[in-house]
Symmetry: C4
Subunit: 374 residues, 4 copies
Amino acid sequence: MDVQPINLAEFEAFARERLPASEYDFIAGGTADEATLLRNRTAFGRLFLRPRVLTGAGAPDLRTTVLGSEIAFPILAGPAGFHARAHPDGELATTRAAGALGTAMVLSSASSHPLEQVAAVATGPLWFQQYLFRDRGLTADLAARAEAAGCRALCLTLDSAVRAKRERNIRHRYTNPHSPTYEGVAVPDYDWDTSDAPRGVSALIDRAAGWSDVEDLAGRTALPIVVKGLMTAEDAALAVVVSNHGGRQLDGTLASVEALPEIVAAVDGRAEVYLDGGIRRGTDVLKALALGARAVLVARPLFWGLAVDGEAGVAAVLRILRDELATDLGLCGLASAAHVPRGTVTPRPRLGTLASQLPYAVNGNPAQVGQSDP
Amino acid sequence: MDVQPINLAEFEAFARERLPASEYDFIAGGTADEATLLRNRTAFGRLFLRPRVLTGAGAPDLRTTVLGSEIAFPILAGPAGFHARAHPDGELATTRAAGALGTAMVLSSASSHPLEQVAAVATGPLWFQQYLFRDRGLTADLAARAEAAGCRALCLTLDSAVRAKRERNIRHRYTNPHSPTYEGVAVPDYDWDTSDAPRGVSALIDRAAGWSDVEDLAGRTALPIVVKGLMTAEDAALAVVVSNHGGRQLDGTLASVEALPEIVAAVDGRAEVYLDGGIRRGTDVLKALALGARAVLVARPLFWGLAVDGEAGVAAVLRILRDELATDLGLCGLASAAHVPRGTVTPRPRLGTLASQLPYAVNGNPAQVGQSDP
Amino acid sequence: MDVQPINLAEFEAFARERLPASEYDFIAGGTADEATLLRNRTAFGRLFLRPRVLTGAGAPDLRTTVLGSEIAFPILAGPAGFHARAHPDGELATTRAAGALGTAMVLSSASSHPLEQVAAVATGPLWFQQYLFRDRGLTADLAARAEAAGCRALCLTLDSAVRAKRERNIRHRYTNPHSPTYEGVAVPDYDWDTSDAPRGVSALIDRAAGWSDVEDLAGRTALPIVVKGLMTAEDAALAVVVSNHGGRQLDGTLASVEALPEIVAAVDGRAEVYLDGGIRRGTDVLKALALGARAVLVARPLFWGLAVDGEAGVAAVLRILRDELATDLGLCGLASAAHVPRGTVTPRPRLGTLASQLPYAVNGNPAQVGQSDP
Amino acid sequence: MDVQPINLAEFEAFARERLPASEYDFIAGGTADEATLLRNRTAFGRLFLRPRVLTGAGAPDLRTTVLGSEIAFPILAGPAGFHARAHPDGELATTRAAGALGTAMVLSSASSHPLEQVAAVATGPLWFQQYLFRDRGLTADLAARAEAAGCRALCLTLDSAVRAKRERNIRHRYTNPHSPTYEGVAVPDYDWDTSDAPRGVSALIDRAAGWSDVEDLAGRTALPIVVKGLMTAEDAALAVVVSNHGGRQLDGTLASVEALPEIVAAVDGRAEVYLDGGIRRGTDVLKALALGARAVLVARPLFWGLAVDGEAGVAAVLRILRDELATDLGLCGLASAAHVPRGTVTPRPRLGTLASQLPYAVNGNPAQVGQSDP
């Protein structure tokens, strides 16, 4: 690496210099006014950590498990299409970096490299992301290939049946130069060569799919299923990635971290809950863990790492986040990333008692009113 | 169209380049400090959509009805004076564009073209906007002409009896070059040639009018009456357009979308409630529908469309909003624009359970306090 | 007037061009970080008007009474030292302008012109502002002169016993070139020639004064007493001007308009409550009236008027505020400035019912959780 | 002093001109995104003073006691490493200035001058700040030296066992040129020559220390112990400095002043509570006192004073804060810095009664709805 970014914001700045504007905007952009994209970041700033002292915690243990597999720290490489946008090694580099650091990789079904080749270089847990295609055979075949290749879970993205309006791509008249690499699978109308990748894939997805289709897929695979893209308690079920697709689908939602508490409450311990959206600092990870997430996923920062230095860049990105998390756990007096108390985070100062102090008397000058105030 | 605006903000930017500054400011401006004008936009940013997944909704049906007439999507061309400000075809172009897209047009009584000519080109529902003039004969005559011309409703604007202080117009020493086109109607003191159009019309309006005057007009026409310009639950009655006149009358009100819930609650299903003010995105429309609006009205964007490309520009404006709404309904898992659940929108994250998690113990280090905190 | 300011903000801008920087800063400045100065303005932006329609109100009656004297509209010329800072005619001009418009003038005891000369040109009610000096004789003598000159009330400023830190003055090494004009009164240590006027006067004021001193003064004069500078319900008594001295004394208080409701509640109709601080628009006046103020006082804008055009400028300032108030009363459907309902203003949208709509079911997809959320 | 800074913000600006950028950034900087650093300041702006009038208070008495020692005003010189960064006289200058003004000095264990030399120039109370080192012998020896030198308390910093990520230092590749001056104490691995001072000291601190270690130290010294770095009610015990280490350790906490109320409530009068973090104005001090702090500590401003004019600069900094506090106590009608009522500060305006005024009727036009709104 000829530059030395010290945090993820600097990684993005250096990556931006190296990428074509259209590719940078494709990766960095959100939908419509990008209000959700922004809120995914700012929402973390409205959550506050409550550090404890003298807990005797010692150096924290960063390990946790996801669906039974141990990972070295609770940050996964999240699914995102076509890593070759940022570096020719693409998903091969990302998967190697994740494995080297001991964490899991979630491979997008829009991969620059064939699933089997990626699986061959994986040394950590590999999950496969896919959609509920209208073509149920294609859906089942991809799941079968993932299972055969040794993947440990299917991550079903549920929020992409509708093509979002990503205006940065429209302004670039963006034509996706990348093609998915499922050579053995018949995808006759799989048209990636459009001005906006999601159109292609959204055209293939069954807009009328329901929970029974998830159950149907579950019946056809031995792999556990993680559903991704939920933002409401009403939809919480199974293992779930709370996600607004990084602000790339519906504009005007809450930040995913703001939706997390209601979903954790609804799931009530019956399944694991993950989160993506806006994670850029160890404190972000820690806040998500405190709110009940088992682990978090990062995606855009993988591209910034790839663009800066391929596999080594991705490894540096993950290492920075991991080290920041270790520091922050320590500063909070916590011993384990797998057990972060809810009280570690608060949405506001506890100023309530102040109100009950009014009115007040001074210097023997009695308070002259006795009204109560809500 | 020699330019290709992709959203309403770009339409406004292009229109601004094409319009004289005084006309742009007349259309875009609000009253006094323009606080309400700004809030009409920012209030939408404080409402958040709650998307659902796997609802089996398929592609959404955008149709709805207004006062019994079906329209293709719940966005009406709202009333605004003198469309010829932006294009010589004026209301003829706007009405044709609305009709071509299958939605309704609300014609201002300050029209650049005679009511009957506009009605002749209307292929969708046409409503006629008017005031409660001091001259009850003029009021009744206009209502009769609207009825005879085939209009389907009267839209009574109630917030314009007082001339507002629109400072952009005062600074331009704006003289209205446009005249209304009610040739057959005697309007002796109808003085449009002032520095600020509303003075003219406000001088004609009966400031002392009350609800009995509305009832009186209702007795003289077969058309249903929609009252426009209400902002409080106390005033809710009949079919109503919740509106602060686009921030052009009283400065310092809530945004109209912020007043919508209390009015919907007051009307309690007894009449249809519409909304105008700040609608610029499909998500804005969706939020208004979720809060109980039957449909929304847009006005300023009509001028931006006219200025950019006449009828084709207006059609593009309406089409963009319609397509964004279709996308956003789909992304929320909703099947119909006519049935949007209230829970689709929320004013804030549901973080309440966090507070009850405090205080907390870590690593066997017991929480040392038992105080309760509001 | 060679310029035509159309609102008070423009008056200030033009006045700034005409005044020496040290005098502009003396008038415009606040104390310390000027947080209160800023908040006095921004607090109005967090209060929202709720306009009513079809109330049959007609043109509003702006008249009201203060302490039994009728004034033409509820805006008084508030007390402020040395009007000659801005125009040689000083308080003579201000008093003539207030009288010509039919409202009251509150004359500062730090007047550029002798009390008796000012009283001679007053055609509206004149109040005299003074302090509780350590020298009780001086206090009583000034009250007696005010009574003899025909003043109708004493306005006792209570928040100036301590010299505030007005940093603009310190940076200008401001030396007050003005002297008070109580020729007949012995003020041996009345030292106005300091870098900051309040030092002079604060040195004379009795820091240990209590309510008994007010009662004592009340026993020595036939005039009613209005106490000025209160910001808490605990201190409410007598007729009172809710005031933080225009942000010039203690930095870090609430805006005066934010303190108004608790004081109105404490006074509970037993006395009249006035407000100063940040009034620049008719809507500001209307909000204050809705919150229970009998009338408001303006002070800095008097200087902007004086600087721009002497008496005519002051008259224009008052006329602009009056006309804006008339417009705003009309737009709210109100008939009288003396009777503005509390519900005319609200601190927030009534979105409460939204919360109870969650969770929600869509398309037969039942809401899967039953948790309650605060 | 060749410049005349009139407040602490100006002191910082002048100091910045005089210091090398790397030293300025070392002192001024926080950790990570510096969100906590910023919030320590802005939180004071969300607390509002409630001044009282006519309390008969007279000039306020600024004296108070800390751990039984009288100090002239409730502002201590807080612990911070290596004052020689800003002036060669370092802690000798700071201690002399604090003593001259009659307040206490808290000497950092990372002092530029030997503890005994500093103690020799102290004329006010001197406290000694230290850590719980892994080397219990070193910990006890330092405590013994402090006791022998006449210190009156030990201030135990508890939030520094983990090295924080201070990015300004990393960007400067900061190498600490300063060494601590405990000549007589064996600190074999005490490595200060790193890119970031805390690494050195954090490497020495026992991360697994618990409350029993504090009790152990208490058993070995006659001095009272003040624990510093607490931010939660759960940890409140003994005399405590509520502190987030000036935003230099964990980013993303509340401001220390926001954590103060919950800790004061938990301590419930059983011990003294102090505060540091963001104190720059007399109003900040007053707000902290009103929330229950016995006194506050300032640290960064000491460096700004040193950099501008050594001992005289520190004295000026403390004098400015003291004088502002005296002014602000007076403006609030308070007689003593040792007795500031809680009601002197409020987090928000008391607007509650406004809500109950809705809906409202005007001009005999009855409110037409009876819904209740939360």
